[in-house]
């Protein structure tokens, strides 16, 4: 491992804030292209353990959050504070966005109450970068990589879906090695993908990108370093980042370029905390767009008890895909699309998956039906709404005395119509297998945080341009899911990696030509 260190007054470095899907990939690619990178990571290395509740308790971002709206009050948002960020948690589902999802305003029209705009880039712009990302992540079922093998939970979703007439039924595409790839081993079908793959068969920034960046000798990872403010000069260019180190001491790293990849909640929070005389509403927030248009994707849970044993915990947690409904088809009564993906559940998580307030004789009977339980998730596109947003909380403070993020999310009528349709039809998939009990509900603890510093062609509509560079500050970039102009039926990680690869090439070229 590299022991490269940079001086804090070295103003030639790129500072990347966050080491997850966006920050880790960007760091690896920028350093490969010759740039020097200091990555500030608020968390410590994650300790992997096949015990999901314990792993989450230790690894999640545990600051309190202010909150308004429809999310689950006890845990509105689940993201990581750890080296590798939320790639430690993800299930690996790696699907491209669809062409219409880059032109959502044009495709869906002016849905009342939404703040839809088209992306300033098209699917064609992303395709070569998606291809690179899929190679890099070793995505199963592509580029000669075998599919993830069938297991009961995925096989049942597929059989049920075929019985109901679905056509786009497959094992899906996951960033999980089905053969050794990129120095990481093949998957052993252990389950527990979302509590950190203990053998590193699942792509994560932790296992793939951070080591790659370190190997270049041009990368320094500073763990337990919590960025608190991005500073700028009189010309309005960023000059460095103030952070608190592991001992709580304030430090300042100078920078030529700053890239923020702290997840869709902490990224806007940091820009808002960086308000100054020149940027009184927060950095890059002259158009009052930072934190707005907050999207979470729509996540639903489908569980059913079947006549025989399923053992849904075996095998890759999220393999098994029904993709027919990803298309936009307004005849269904809503805009946008969704997918069904199998989802294994381990026993320690089982009681809260069924009902976090459940108890008593009937509940215990349901718990005892675990061996026969099949499980899947719905993932769908939610709509941007200007007043769904991240702000600084007026009262709550973190351990450093700084205002925490205040999360406001109220689901739009289109979101509720999509989820209702997806859950009703999902239940029918499991009923076709002889289900004796079914449960279908929207998850109100969200895991995807998108759109809060979105890309826009017009600086009045968003925070950053087609390369993630903020409209107002020429050497400040947004490098995570915050830059998404709209959500999608596909989960966000592959697109975050794709945008990071594309952004790295752009920044490297700008550095080389002294444009920034």
């Amino acid at each position: 491992m590299s022991t490269k260190t940079f001086a804090r007054d070295d103003d030639s470095v790129v500072v990347v804030i966050g080491s997850g899907a966006g920050g880790g990939t960007l760091s690896a690619e920028l350093t490969r292209l010759g740039a020097s990178v200091v990555c500030l990571e608020a968390g410590q290395p994650a300790i992997y353990e096949q015990n999901l509740p314990a792993f989450y308790a230790r690894t999640r971002w545990s600051d309190p959050r202010g909150f308004d709206g429809d999310l689950y009050p006890d845990l509105p948002v689940l993201i990581a504070k750890a080296v590798g960020g939320t790639t430690n948690f993800w299930g690996g589902v790696s699907l491209r966005r669809q062409a219409h999802e880059m032109r959502s305003r044009t495709t869906y029209g002016a849905l009342p109450g939404t703040s839809l705009v088209d992306w300033p880039i098209t699917l064609e712009d992303l395709e070569p970068w998606y291809a690179q990302a899929e190679q890099r992540l070793g995505v199963s079922g592509l580029n000669g990589k075998p599919d993830i093998p069938d297991h009961n939970n995925s096989e049942l979703l597929k059989i049920g879906a075929r019985r109901r007439g679905y056509k786009k039924v497959s094992n899906g595409h996951l960033a999980i090695n089905t053969v050794p790839h990129d120095g990481r081993p093949a998957c052993r079908q252990m389950g527990f993908c979302t509590s950190g793959c203990v053998i590193g068969a699942k792509w994560s920034s932790t296992h793939a990108e951070i080591p790659r960046a370190l190997a270049t000798g041009r990368f320094e990872l500073r763990q337990q370093c919590h960025a608190t403010k991005i500073e700028h000069d009189a010309a309005g260019r960023v000059t460095g980042v103030v952070y608190l180190d592991a001992e709580g001491r304030e430090q300042r790293q100078r920078a030529r370029v700053v890239c923020v990849a702290a997840n869709g909640i902490e990224t806007p929070r940091l820009l808002l905390l960086s308000a100054s005389g020149r940027f009184p509403q927060g950095l890059a927030n002259g158009a009052d767009q930072v934190g707005r248009h907050y999207m979470t994707d729509l996540v639903g849970r489908l569980i059913a008890v079947l006549p025989g044993e399923v053992h849904n915990y075996r095998g890759s947690t999220n393999s098994g895909l029904v993709a027919d409904d990803m298309a936009h088809d307004p005849a269904r009564g809503f805009s946008g699309g969704f997918l069904y993906v199998a989802r294994g559940i381990q026993v320690p998580s089982w009681p809260n998956e069924i009902d976090p307030a459940g108890f008593g004789t009937e509940f215990a009977k349901l718990m005892e039906a675990y061996p026969n339980a099949v499980s899947a998730a719905v993932l769908g596109e939610d709509m941007p709404v200007a007043d769904n947003r991240i702000t600084l909380d007026g009262a709550l403070r973190d351990a450093h005395g700084l205002p925490v993020a205040h999360v406001t999310k109220r689901y739009h009528a289109n979101d509720l119509a999509l989820m209702d349709y997806a859950l009703k039809n999902g239940v029918e998939i499991f009923k076709s297998l002889g289900a004796t009990f079914t449960l279908a509900k929207q998850s109100r603890t969200v895991i995807h945080n998108l759109g809060t510093c979105r890309m826009s062609a017009d600086p009045a509509d968003g925070v950053c341009d087609r390369f993630g560079r903020t409209h107002e500050v020429p050497n400040l970039f947004i490098s995570d899911g915050s830059q998404f102009t709209s959500s999608a039926a596909a989960p966000p990680t592959l697109t975050i990696v794709t945008l990071a690869l594309r952004q790295a090439a752009h920044i490297a070229e700008q550095l080389r030509t002294n444009a920034i």
Binding site: R162, R163, V198, G360, S432
Partner: protein
């Protein structure tokens, strides 16, 4: 898994002490369960342990679980109270809100008595603590045909992953 050997648990000792007290009174011709329910003859901490014990087994009444698991649940709640002083008042208030004789009600009666407390801080603490014992207990994993962590045996890749002989109807 139980947090510690219940044979050496202070709560077990207190419960036993309570039972002994109640037993002595029973020898005077009065049923021990009545005294456990009214609490009058029990030490305050023994009553508290008995109530928490009843709350935990009401929450997740699995027949395959024995007393050791319920005692571990009670210990878990008390450990939480000890570690987090803010939990003390909600637990005391929750227990005070239970009807007299709660521990002596049948399961249906105890469920009805607990129902108004769903969502309260007490309920959350009790349920979270009990779930973190019950759904990690070896007896539970055995009853649910669940092996737990798969890394120790190398995952399922070399084992049959599709076993659906029971499934009727078309598959294609």
């Amino acid at each position: 898994m139980p947090a510690s050997d219940p044979n050496f648990s202070p709560y077990r000792r207190r419960l036993l002490a309570g039972a002994v007290t109640a037993g002595l009174l029973a020898s005077h011709g009065l049923p021990a369960r009545v005294f456990a329910a009214t609490g009058a003859p029990l030490a305050a901490d023994a009553l508290r342990a008995a109530q928490l014990h009843a709350v935990c087994r009401t929450l997740f009444p699995h027949a395959f679980l024995g007393d050791a698991t319920w005692l571990a649940c009670v210990e878990k709640i008390e450990a939480r109270v000890k570690a987090d002083p803010a939990a003390a008042a909600p637990v005391a208030e929750g227990l005070a809100a239970l009807p007299a004789g709660f521990a002596n009600l049948d399961q249906a009666g105890r469920e009805a008595a607990l129902a108004p407390l769903v969502g309260s801080p007490f309920f959350k603490i009790a349920r979270q603590s009990a779930a973190s014992v019950v759904y990690y207990a070896p007896e539970t994993w055995q009853a649910l045909h669940y092996p737990g962590p798969s890394a120790p045996f190398g995952g399922y890749v070399d084992r049959p992953l599709v076993e659906l002989d029971w499934l009727e109807g078309p598959r294609a």
